[in-house]
Structure formats: C-alpha cells, structure tokens
Symmetry: C2
Subunit: 547 residues, 2 copies
Amino acid sequence: MDLSHWGWGYADKFLSREARMQLGDLAAAGLGFSPLGLDEPVSLDDVVLPDTVVNAPKTLLHLFDGTSEGRIRNTYGRAYRDILRGFRGDFASAPDLVAYPTSADEVRRVLDWASDAKVAVVPYGGGTSVVGGVECPRRDREEAGLNGVVAMNMARLDAVDEIDPRSRLARIGAGARGPALERKLGEHGLTLRHFPQSFEFSTLGGWIATRAGGHFATLYTHIDDLVASIEAVSPVGALKSWTLPGSGAGPSPDRFLLGSEGTLGAITAATVRVRPRPRYKASATAVFATFEAAAVAARMLVQSDLHPTNCRVLDPREAGLNGVDGAGRAVLIVGFESDDHPLEPWMSRALELVNDAGGACEAPVRYVAPGADGQRSSQGADTWRSAFIDAPYMQTNFVSMGIIIDTFETACTWSGFDALHADMIREVRDVMKRVAGRAFLSCRFTHVYPDGPAPYYTFACPARRGAELQQWAEIKAAASEVLMRHEATITHHHAVGRTHRPWYERQAPSVFLTALSAAKRALDPSGVMNPGALIPAATPPGGESAM
Amino acid sequence: MDLSHWGWGYADKFLSREARMQLGDLAAAGLGFSPLGLDEPVSLDDVVLPDTVVNAPKTLLHLFDGTSEGRIRNTYGRAYRDILRGFRGDFASAPDLVAYPTSADEVRRVLDWASDAKVAVVPYGGGTSVVGGVECPRRDREEAGLNGVVAMNMARLDAVDEIDPRSRLARIGAGARGPALERKLGEHGLTLRHFPQSFEFSTLGGWIATRAGGHFATLYTHIDDLVASIEAVSPVGALKSWTLPGSGAGPSPDRFLLGSEGTLGAITAATVRVRPRPRYKASATAVFATFEAAAVAARMLVQSDLHPTNCRVLDPREAGLNGVDGAGRAVLIVGFESDDHPLEPWMSRALELVNDAGGACEAPVRYVAPGADGQRSSQGADTWRSAFIDAPYMQTNFVSMGIIIDTFETACTWSGFDALHADMIREVRDVMKRVAGRAFLSCRFTHVYPDGPAPYYTFACPARRGAELQQWAEIKAAASEVLMRHEATITHHHAVGRTHRPWYERQAPSVFLTALSAAKRALDPSGVMNPGALIPAATPPGGESAM
C-alpha cells in the first residue's frame, strides 16, 4: 500500500469526495459545526521544491537520494501544520538530500561528512512527529550556520536479532517500524507491547528519541522503561551502553539519550525488554455521571497497585465523538492482561473500586482465556481501539474540509488537575471562538499514574482558508500558556521538537538546559544534529554560565 | 545515642571484648576460619589530623565548623576501607572545614565562596557511602587544582512539607534521614517505602545522588522511580524541576541528577512519591536443593507480573550465615504487600510457580490483614530482616578481629548469570586463598527484574595486619574484572564514588563520559564539586572529542 506524501499513513485512507461529504455530515453532528467546503490536495507531481544547495559526497553517493519524491517524503512529520502545508503543496522545508544508511558505520560516515561540510542532519524515522521534530526549516539551518540539510532516513537499520527469551530481551534496529518488529518478535511468541497511536508507521529509534508513550495506561508503557541499552552514533563517535536490568553506576546514559530528539546523535539500535504475548485478558466499561467522578475512579484504580493495563477515561464529548457513549456520560475503560494467570481477582477488586466511585458497568466483563472463544475485549474497548487507530486519518480528511482538528497532551498532579482542566476548557474554548467562531474541545486520560493523570485534549474549529496556521498557532499558544501557569508539562508523549520549544525553555530548569547545551556542543561540535529541535540551534555566547 | 566516629552506626553497637570473642567463635563456625586476634579502636581524642589549610569565609562563619571532631565525623563513608582506617585512627583525608547550610540559599553562598576560593565541596549526607563517595583525599583535590576541602553536611535541610495525600507526594529536604522522614510521613498514614540497608543513617539527598536501591525486590524500590522532582544548587545556579507524574519533554533533568554523586551540584530537596502504609501482607519462605533452582523460581516470579514486594534468593552459605537455613539448602523469600486488597490470589499463584520450580514451603504462609493479630511475616523473612539491618555492625566488629568482610553487587541478564556466577565464585575464592589463605564467599539476589537478577556477594577472609587494604584491593579488583568481562554493571546500588571509578570508566560509553564531563564543566567551571568522584577530577585536554 502506498503512503500519502502529505497526509497520515496510507494514501487510500484519504476518502473520496463523496465519502468525505458524508464524513462532514457526521462531523457536523459530533463537533457542532459544518465543514466549510471540500478541497483537493496538490499532487506529488505538482509540488515545486526549492533548489538543492548541497551535493552528496562522492564516496557515499550510493547512500543518497536527491529525487523530488524522496525529498518530499522526508520533509515533514504529521502535525496539523505539516498535513495542511503538504495538502497545499508547500514543501519549502524539504531537505536537500535524503541519506539511507544501512549500518551504524554508514551513519558515522554520513555524520563525518556532514560535520566537515557543515550540513544539518535530521534523523528521520517513521516521519510521524507532531511537533516539528523532523522538519529543519531554512531559518534553523541558517541560525546554526549550516549550508544545507540532509534527512537521514533510518529505515534500513531494521534488523531484529539477538532475541533472548530467557532474559526477555531483543536487539532491534532503530529503523524498525511497529508492525515489522512485532511480526518478528511474534515468531518467538514475544511482543514489545509498545503501541503508540503512530504504531503502524513509527520506529523504535523514533520512540526512543522522543520518549514515546505506549497505549497501556500503567506500568511498562513508556519506551523509557522498555529500553535495556542503546546504540547511537554522535558526530564524535559511537556509543553503546551495556544491556543491564538495573544499574546504579552514574547517571543513566540511556535516560540521557531518551528524549534527545536527534540533537546529540542518531540512535542506531536498542536492546529492549520484551515479553510473551498475553493469554488472559479482562476488560470492562463503566459509565459515570460526570468526568470528575470517572477521574476519581481512575485515581483509585491506579493507586490500588492492581496495575491495570488499560485505565482510560473519556469525558462525555470524547465518548460521543468516538462512539463509545452517546448519552452524555463519561466513560472509564479498565482492562487487565497477563500471560501467566487468570484475572478474575484483579478485575473483581477493580470493579469494587469503580462501583465505590459511582460507576456503572452496563455490559458484563469480557474475559479471554487460552483456548476460550471469548471476545477480545469489551464493547467500549473495541469501539475505542478502532477510533484510536483511525483518529489521525480523520484529521487528514478534515484538513480538506476546512476543519482544524488537533490534539495536545500533558500530565499534572491529581491535586492540580481540577484547576488546570477548568482553565483549559474555558481559555481554549474562548480562543477558538475568537479566531474561528466555533469551538469543540474534549478531554480524555491516556495514562494515569499514582501521582497524577495525563489529560489529552482534542480541539476542533472551522478554518479560514489561508489563515489556518495563524488560527492554529493562537489556539496552541493559549493551551500552552495554561500549562505553563499550572506547571503542567508542555508534552507528556508528543515530544518537544520545534513546536514546543518556546514553552519547553520555560519548563526545563535553565541550569539543566545549560548542561544539555554543553553536552550537545561536546558531542556535536559543528552543530549539525537536528538544529533547532529541542534546544536552540545556536547557543548564545555566555549561555554556559546563565542561571 | 552517639554515633561511632569510625564504625557503622551507633557507638554502643561495637561490642565488648567478651561479646566480640563470642562473636568470633560464631564467625569461625560460619565463615570457616577463626579471628586472628582482638584489637581496640583509636579513640576520638587520640586521632591526629592534618592541619587545616583554608579558613572559613568571614561572612559565613556561623555555618562552618573547624573542630577536630566535626572534621573527623565528616571524613569518610562506611566502606571496609573507611572503617579500617578509622579504627586505626587514620583520618588523613579529613576535610579542612565542615559547612552546615540551613537553606538552599546558604548552599548557594557556600558554593559561591568555594568556587571563588578554589576549595573542594563534598556534599555529605548520612556518611554511609561504601565506595569512597564522600572522601576527598589530598590527591584528588590537588589534581583538581584546589586549595582545600569543605564537607558540606546537609543535615539541617531536613524539612518534610507540602504533603499531598491525594497525589501521594511529599516534599522532603535532602538532609532528612530515613527514620525521621518516615516518622513525619507516618503522621499522615504515608510512607516513602524506601528502605536501603543504610536506612537508619542515610539521607534522601544521598539516596538520589547515588541512585540508592530500596529493599523491595520489584517495581518501585529504586529511588529513581520515587522521585517526582528535584531541587539542587550547582555552582552556576539553582535548579528546580517541575513535579510531574510523567513527561516526554526532553531528557529527564531528574535522571540527569540521579547518580551524579555531588559532582554537578548539591541536591537540596525533592518531591517524592509516597503511599499509604500497607495493611495487607503475605510472606512465604521456600527451600530449594540448589541455588540454581531457587534462581529459576525467582525468574518465574518476576516474569509473572505478580509484582512481589519481596523476592529474595539466598544461596546455602548466605542462608546459613544469616540463620535462615542450616541444612545447606537455598532459600527463596517471597512476599506481597498492599494497602488496598487481600493478597491470597497473588500468593497462591506465586506458590504454584515456586512449586513448579522445585521449591518447598515448610512453614505455612503468613498473612497479615487489618485488625488481625497475625505475625508480620514468615519466620525466614523475620530472621532475614534483622540480619539485614545488623550486617554492617558485624563488619565493624569483625574489623577489630582481623577479619576482612565486605560485599559487592551487580546486575546482569538471566542468560548471563550462570557464567558470571561460576567465574565469580572461582576467581574470587582463588584470590582470597592467595592473599589470605582462607576464603568465604556467598551470594544472594537483592533485586530481580524481568530481564535479570541483581546478585550480591559477601566475602570474608583473614586479614594480615598492615596489609588489609592491599588484600582488600586485590580481592575487589579480581571481582571487578569478572564483572567487566561479563559486561555486568560495576554497581547495582552502591554507586561509583572513587572506589569503582576505574571500572566505571570502562563500563560507561566514552561518548557519554565526554557529554557528562562537558556538562560538569558547564555547571561547575571551577571544578569544586566532589572532585574525583564518578568522573576524573580534571578532564585531560582534548577529552571532548575522544571517541
């Protein structure tokens, strides 16, 4: 199946005009406003690219692709901004060249050349960044004093080897995508069990570089916790941490690379913690009169040490939009999985807690056991899962209808949530009404922790043709300012990239940014690694001693 | 109760001559060789210190203590090397002064003065380091080009405030010791539930600086996972991370400070994840014919997702030495705790796994429930716990009898364990026989992970008076070389300090050390923070671009 050169995922998931008109009617019901029209994307052949300003090195010609299609397909991630610009045929940030290294040694040769030639290198995984993490615009490259931009596509470093079922470890190339690595692990009855929404297209290296969050609610869901060791190549040399279940030897080198977003080097492989596929599952869906009541239930569940694998809360708008509940109620989906034991005691206690918090399960709990013919999960969970995977395609289709739709996410303490949420709903609705006349805003919890939830907001409003990016930027800024005021993280699992950088610089302790910038200069003296992502492309003089 | 100026913990735990003679007889039975004699420590008054070479700053005089006793009590940690030297009255590494800041601002003023005056600052918590983490010998200070050494004792930064039961968070000063912070949390029904062996004396700041391991076997036991945010002061300014349950915003500033061992700055406070005290407990003790069989059971338990709070394996020598089993069998202690639910289903499944692995429970499972009068835990667990807390006192008493006894620990994959363990037993016994004529070596697992165990070795042999440190160093080097050969971490929870540095420099990726050294230079331009711990006191020129 072909991938779209501008929208999310597979090209054929961009619907026909007729199907999009039907979707528009549905949207009107769900969002409360109608599409403004129906537009068509600029075709691949009609895109006009800026001229290439650097040439591939003669000794590495075989690794480089300078075709228009290659450049276009390695320009953007899949943020709303990216999809809109791609739809309109604007690929002004296209890299000059795309490199396809096939080994860590070739990565090193590309970085050696780029450091000498002063060319920016953007490690490119699945291209699903929603924060401008893989787009190096001309301004960033110029600020870094560089001559051009190479996208380094990691797709060919995709081996899955050194599978160790006894230690539950596997070494996987950074360029391996979710389905491919799961297929290879599945041959051994194993799974990495890391399912971000981008799973179909994103890569292990991208997950590590951006501290991706999996779709499970508690315990081992962040890629951070699934990494046992990392291999990477920085401009000053290669790095390979030891594969250790635990260590107290100095600050963790893995945690230093997790979230580094390609600014310190390119991740080439990792040894990750895998596990047998689950044989037992239990899932229940409960409805609550209010979002607040469902939130209390989620808190009780995550603080119970029952460790549900799923503990997702949808507010009434979110439940309606995703077809999980149409009666204006909040929904909590709670689930357990195990490869070892039946889950009745876990689920029974979970349902007592749900009941104590005022929740009602209208359908029986669904249990799956080895050999049994049970359904895989409860109705709510099924409906939820397909909506979850399809959501990015909705955004792509909506772009053609003049609808701005996007998400943002955070994490905060349980004590801080109520005030944050109230401000967020009020201020983001206000700004949407101001810039677009209409406003849709919903919330769910994607992850819950003993100390707080990770609220995830979906917003939508009508676009004004030509003003979309400005409208979007005003909404995004309003939401981000609320986060800053409440000291809630600018990103829980979407990463910083370029979009979040202004707020990240206010959130991260400046002494830490001083240390991070110094480390960056030591590993990347020419400043070629993904300039402008995460930290400023050029550190201002005297930055070392800033407070 | 007075603390010993040279030995572990309370002074009165150093036994009378008569009691030590009895202990010696016991030791002969347990270790297989007899004490060589009975010696007495040099008294506090008889210690001769080197002259003080720096004066306290006039504006901060009230924070400084230059008395001999103050200097002696802030010289060493409690490694075997420290206890032996202290016993003999050798405090050659005594700091020139001790500073007692009472606030983060005073920490900053001390660091400002020290950076200007080129005086080394060693943050001093509970003084329980076993790796030379708080001893700054003259050589390290001179290599760093510094004029003197100040121990910065953090004891007065011990407030417990901002307790948030709903979010299960509490802000605690870095100088708070285990019992004091647990007492204050206990007033709210809460616990940090972090119980390293040094718990009685060590501090929150020390735990964070050294990545301490708690005494629970799985899940939330490392201080790393209990930290929600950190406050610290570096020579270029203060740092305060946001209190967040999760974040994907760049590399974690907390994980950067965790394990930094005072080299980047002094930790002044942290907001930590607390929880209600457990109301339900379950504990069982199983015996196995061999250590290998017990290890398989531990692996099955930790890979089951039952998440036992205790899952400790003792080899036959360890079980004998600790009085848990005298029949030459290996012992596994498995336990569960919860504040939420009875634990029968968890324990039942755990015992099935233990049984499958060939284990036998000779005593019934002990359950504790609210209101019930049950014993707190099984026999094995009780015996184990008191031996665990008393073990360091044994070492202190043995020093006076001419017995070298010490421990080292690591972590490795399950697949790598058998070969590592076989080499370790053979080579460490060999070196002890060579340097001491006799050898005792036992092993237990202190922690287990789905991907591997954390083996913890206890060794003992007769000392030759005056040659103890050389004997010890040869044994330590032999053990450390085995770890390097098997790529097992040089330390699982004892930290790097100065003792482990030569091996840490081989374990840590050199590119990472380049980054860490650059960060250190940016935050500590004068190089005053704990010079010689973790990373070299002075980075050789050109270190930035080393591979």
